[in-house]
């Protein structure tokens, strides 16, 4: 971010920015930066809190009043606590939407299909409530996406359904869509208020989809293809979930 600020200012365009990693901003010294004490992925602090978001924006834009720089100022407020669920007490017990013993390897495909099917009502409600969905980077139908990932996680040779993209990129985008579908769906369930970390623990630790992506990571790491190795080492499973 600080690099872009430097390039734009050099071209005569005034910039101000949000900083999420203070140490990076200290090193790059962009002209105007507002460090915010928020979680990565949440530069404006909290969802659905317009007044808080506007305070963050105006604090960043107010740095244009300074006459010398570089300026690195701290935003004085923590993000309001929020939970992703639609309310309730926040005391609900998180559970895997599907839990039955798998008897055969082939059941992975079936279990994933069932998870997706069972979440589909919640997904539609989430879409209606939010007025949007973030699923769709791959363009694949959700059942096709999970079937593709299930087969790839078993090391099967599968035809790339997105021929303009490399196989690892197709897998990454399919995984992104699956994660978004699961997390949007479960956030629509009443009484399931949860923090982002709890949601991540649920997805990676308690769903067949999370288990499948972890299996795919292991398969990718065994590949001789460098892009597959990169997929396995960095682009599928978050660092905070790598202990599983």
């Amino acid at each position: 971010m600080g690099g872009l600020a430097h390039y734009f200012e050099t071209e005569g365009l005034p910039t101000t920015q949000i900083s999420l990693i203070r140490q990076h901003t200290e090193r790059m010294k962009p002209p105007r930066a507002l460090w915010v004490p928020f979680e990565l992925g949440r530069p404006l602090g909290a969802p659905n809190d317009p007044e808080f978001q506007k305070r963050v924006i105006m604090a960043a834009l107010d740095l244009f009043h300074r006459t010398t720089g570089p300026v690195l100022e701290d935003f004085p407020e923590d993000a309001p606590s929020d939970s992703v669920g639609t309310g309730g007490t926040g005391e609900g017990t998180w559970a895997c939407p599907v839990s039955f013993p798998l008897k055969e390897e082939g059941d992975v495909r079936k279990a994933l299909a069932l998870e997706v099917w069972q979440l589909s009502s919640w997904y539609r409600m989430a879409w209606a409530k939010n007025g949007r969905t973030t699923v769709g980077v791959s363009g694949l139908d959700m059942q096709a996406a999970v079937a593709l990932l299930a087969d790839a996680a078993r090391g099967l040779e599968v035809e790339n359904p997105l021929p303009g993209l490399s196989w690892p990129t197709t897998l990454r985008l399919a995984a992104e869509d699956v994660k978004a579908y699961y997390l949007e769906s479960v956030a629509a369930q009443p009484g399931r208020a949860a923090t982002p970390a709890e949601l991540a623990d649920w997805f990676w630790g308690r769903t067949k989809a999370g288990e499948t992506l972890r299996a795919l990571k292991a398969i990718a790491l065994q590949s001789e293809d460098q892009e597959m190795q990169l997929l396995g080492s960095l682009l599928l499973v978050p660092r905070a979930q790598a202990h599983r």
Binding site: M1, G3, P14, Q17, G41, L61, P238
Partner: protein, 152 residues
Amino acid sequence: MARLEDMPESAEHLRALPCPEFDSTPWAEGPPVDRRRVAMVSTAGLHVRGDAPFSVMDADYRVIGPNTAADDLVMSHVSTNFDRTGFQQDVNIVFPLDRLHELADEGAIGSVADYHYSFMGATDPGEMVDTARHVAGLLKGDRVTAVFLVPV
């Protein structure tokens, strides 16, 4: 709410990432904030559904035009190490276009640009120099006098 400091497995890795250092800090001037035309540049790997997704080390940009609905915006940033649930609930937590329009209506800023831009922040910034210069020309063509840079 968790901060970076609360996530030691991520914090140490991220702080150690290389980033460019510059000998000087360029400083461009503009009119008072309430007369500025503001554009956003995000590094969240945002793009319109159906646009080419971002790839590893992609130094290109995507444009987000004036008629882009929130439901048309998706994210193909390659990093798995940041929260996406906030974005799933509210696009404005990453790309606060609604908030900018409200601030323009309230007179706090002059106006909102027609075109905004997205990069993929995991790419080495040094690879973005030529693209950034090109985007700077596009921003000037849109009469932008303030660029609000939003990371993810």
